[in-house]
């Protein structure tokens, strides 16, 4: 029983980083749509969730994904559909 709880805690903590990365990614696409090219934000919550190295990795993934979307088709990127996240195609 104790080990099951430990595994659940481990998965939960990893999920914190997944949620933070996904949220940052979606927010970035929305911000870029509204304000043009912006640097991904690094708040205290963000650093606590993904750490110092992880923060740089998440930023690189977001910027690279954004560039890929721009390169692969403006029409999808500029789509004003509120279901924005579903219309994007990221990198690998």
């Amino acid at each position: 029983m104790r080990s099951i709880v430990n595994f659940m805690v481990a998965f939960g903590l990893i999920w914190v980083g997944v949620l933070e990365s996904a949220t940052s990614s979606v927010e970035d696409f929305r911000q870029v749509l509204d304000d043009g090219d912006v640097e991904p934000e690094r708040s205290v919550k963000h650093i606590l969730a993904v750490g110092l190295v992880g923060s740089s990795i998440v930023s690189s993934i977001i910027i690279n994904g954004r560039q890929t979307v721009i390169l692969e088709g403006h029409e999808k990127f500029l789509d004003p559909n509120p279901m924005l996240s579903e219309s994007f195609v990221g990198s690998e």
């Binding site: 997944v18 979606v26 606590l48 690189s60 195609v89």
Partner: protein, 384 residues
């Protein structure tokens, strides 16, 4: 150190499970994981700690040549779980679409990686479950099928005229790359004999791939390998196991070939990045053949075995001697390539990387010659 001990004892009492040195290692591991990757790093570290303490996949003392303690062979499984959680979560919650969903080549690559992992995992759970020839045949079949279905993974030229001739004929290039691929996966498995050696090579390689491409999959692999590297170097409780070395071998091989075929990296760059496992594999095969033994029989004549023996005579802690061995070798080969790539001393597509590779080979041979009188006394020692 005095100020650390009360805190360590407090944690030990709270957990009531481990000795003081064990708790000290845990504190150090979780500290580094937390600093580098925050809550996610702590979660991945906790997952690896829990998996290392399960009875499944335990490796007996001295089974791995250098290691003198009972360790887990589930390192590959731990890395796979972390990567799958991250990529699945990102696919579900963000605009990210993984490569295997939208690109046939990546789909075939990941199918081959999965098969290699499962092949190794069977061996990790039940040693000698599959005969060596069956495993070798299965690797030939899987990697052969991969290159047959994705010929774009095969480079058209690597800058060596003799090999370029073979690469220009489709069937010959397929056969040549398949043989090389099986050899590479086996070489990485053979090199997995010191803490932080193969994880260090994988970490440097994924660092290079992530900086070049910025793909989320590379980021997830970099994250999982970093945590495993910290865990492996500090505690020595884990091996990659066959699942990890076969799986990472297949990923690094595919990414490397794709990078060379696309022209982002020169073949010399990849040779320098993966110098140690490849050269050690070739030298080991030649050494055994000259001694009249099977080229694939296990022994402790590798450079990392000899270097470990040399360091062990000077350092009390067997775990530290083991970890220093891995760090020195991975740091002076793949780590040095990562450094040169990061500071942009040489472009990744330059053929001058062959010169770097030659330097690494000379360093390897000089090390082997210097340490040649040292023969570790374990079950795999060469007959005198």
């Amino acid at each position: 150190m005095l100020s650390v001990n009360p805190a360590v004892r407090l944690i030990q009492n709270a957990l009531g499970l481990w000795s003081v040195p064990t708790v000290q290692k845990l504190v150090l591991m979780f500290f580094f994981a937390g600093i580098t990757y925050g809550a996610t790093g702590l979660g991945a570290m906790l997952l690896m700690t829990l998996l290392a303490n399960t009875k499944l996949g335990k490796d007996g003392s001295a089974k791995h040549g250098i290691s003198l303690s009972e360790s887990s062979r589930l390192g590959g499984l731990a890395i796979a779980i972390v990567v799958i959680i991250y990529i699945a979560g990102l696919s579900l919650l963000s605009p990210y679409t993984s490569g295997l969903e939208r690109n046939d080549s990546f789909l075939y690559i990941w199918c081959a990686v999965l098969f290699c992992c499962l092949l190794g995992f069977a061996e990790d759970i039940k040693p000698d479950f599959l005969t060596p020839s069956l495993r070798l045949g299965a690797k030939f079949a899987v990697l052969g099928a991969l290159f047959w279905l994705s010929p774009q993974l095969i480079p058209l030229s690597i800058g060596a005229p003799a090999i370029d001739f073979f690469l220009s004929v489709p069937v010959l290039s397929w056969a040549l790359v398949t043989v090389f691929a099986v050899g590479f996966v086996n070489a990485l498995n053979m090199a997995d004999g010191a803490n932080g050696l193969v994880p260090g090579i994988a970490l440097a390689s994924f660092g290079v791939f992530f900086m070049e491409y910025g793909r989320p999959m590379d980021g997830a692999l970099l994250f999982a390998c970093s945590i495993f590297f910290i865990f492996n170097v500090i505690s020595g409780w884990y091996f990659l196991g066959d699942a990890g070395s076969y799986g990472l071998g297949a990923i690094l091989l595919s990414y490397g070939l794709l990078g060379v075929a696309d022209g982002h990296f020169s073949a010399g760059f990849m040779a320098a990045l993966f110098c140690y496992p490849c050269v050690d594999f070739l030298v080991s095969v030649i050494r055994r053949w000259r001694a009249g033994r099977s080229p694939f029989s296990a022994d402790n004549g590798h450079l990392h075995n000899r270097l470990h023996q040399f360091i062990k005579l000077r350092i009390k802690s067997s775990v530290m001697a083991n970890s220093f061995t891995g760090l020195i070798i991975s740091g002076s080969t793949s780590g040095a390539v990562l450094f040169v790539y990061m500071v942009d001393l040489l472009p990744s597509g330059s053929d001058l990387w062959y010169g770097f590779f030659v330097l690494e080979v000379l360093l390897y041979l000089a090390g082997l010659k210097y340490l040649t009188s040292i023969q570790p006394k374990t079950q795999y020692a060469d007959p005198v």
